[in-house]
Symmetry: C2
Subunit: 153 residues, 2 copies
DNA sequence: TACATAATGATATGATATATCATTCAAATA
DNA sequence: TATTTGAATGATATATCATATCATTATGTA
């Protein structure tokens, strides 16, 4: 099974953003894109070996993950220590904030943009405490639509 | 320096909540309460040894941390893999959700309750995706009041 | 006391992540 | 083309965070 949002124009996107995507970086991104669920660096090591026959050291994968997250192509889920391809690469809008709906049952993740409204409210709330926010990332755990249906049977 | 909110009546609180706080659990809680910043299980191991002269194996500390987080006395910050005493033990209100303002500069954390309003909005947003939320925990990174002041000098 | 249950200790190991130095690759320049 | 240089990747070691399992100790109850 493959990711719900195949990205064909990733190279064009990177060119536009000034991101230099080497073959290996491209491969790591492909591994993440092809996965239904977030992966750890060590998960990626295993999948990479199968998918590309040749193996890449996990430490290189960490480095590439760092590059990809820095470029905004990939997100790290802090609550699970796993990595996931960004779902909003096709969109024009900048998203300095993201919200992840993480299913505790099947591990699938839906990435949704935080509304401006909500972002603003949270920012103001923090400001009232004298706190200056950096990029927001919300990780919401629960049960997804599909798993809820299964449970109700 | 000690925690801004010393808790004297912790034993009474636990009694009321039906939490059995052994001496060692109490000690671990004290370590967290006395710290300005969140601590890892291994941090606690070191501090415990100094503070109580006798040493406790880190694995026991993990077990006690599990108990304390399960009881709601302590929170785990997922984004930093560290533990912090709950700041709202004195309050009556149930807080199934929490928001942490984490300073990237000095590591201090302020725990603030999410407003019902905001909680509701987020819940509704998730529901629209067919997603059923469990307990919310938001970890907001940025710069605290004190550090902002220092920076402006 | 005798028993049962909960709490803690000891040991091993798994999982995640960073630091550092060496090597390779690829673009720029002579 | 040959040379230089910086970026990317590989190799190795080690730090950090966490769980599993079995043994032992403490605590409450019949
Ligand atoms: Zn994204
Ligand atoms: Zn699911
Ligand atoms: Zn709390
Ligand atoms: Zn600060």
């Amino acid at each position: 099974m493959i990711h719900s949002k195949p990205i064909n124009n990733i190279d064009k996107i990177c060119q536009q953003k000034g991101i230099s995507l080497t073959q290996k970086r491209h491969n790591i991104f492909d591994v993440l894109l092809s996965s239904m669920i977030p992966l750890s660096a060590y998960d990626i090591t295993d999948i990479y070996k199968n998918k590309f026959v040749t193996s890449m050291p996990t430490m290189s994968i960490y480095r590439i993950l760092e590059f990809l997250t820095g470029s905004g192509l990939v997100h790290k889920l802090e609550s699970t220590n796993k990595y996931i391809a960004c779902s909003h690469l096709q969109c024009d809008h900048e998203h300095t904030n993201a919200q992840f709906l993480i299913c505790n049952s099947c591990s699938e993740v839906e990435e949704v943009a935080l509304t401006q409204e909500l972002h603003h409210q949270i920012e103001v709330g923090a400001e009232q405490k004298g706190f200056k926010l950096e990029a927001l990332q919300f990780e919401l755990h629960g049960t997804c639509k599909t798993c809820l249906k299964k449970q109700s049977h």
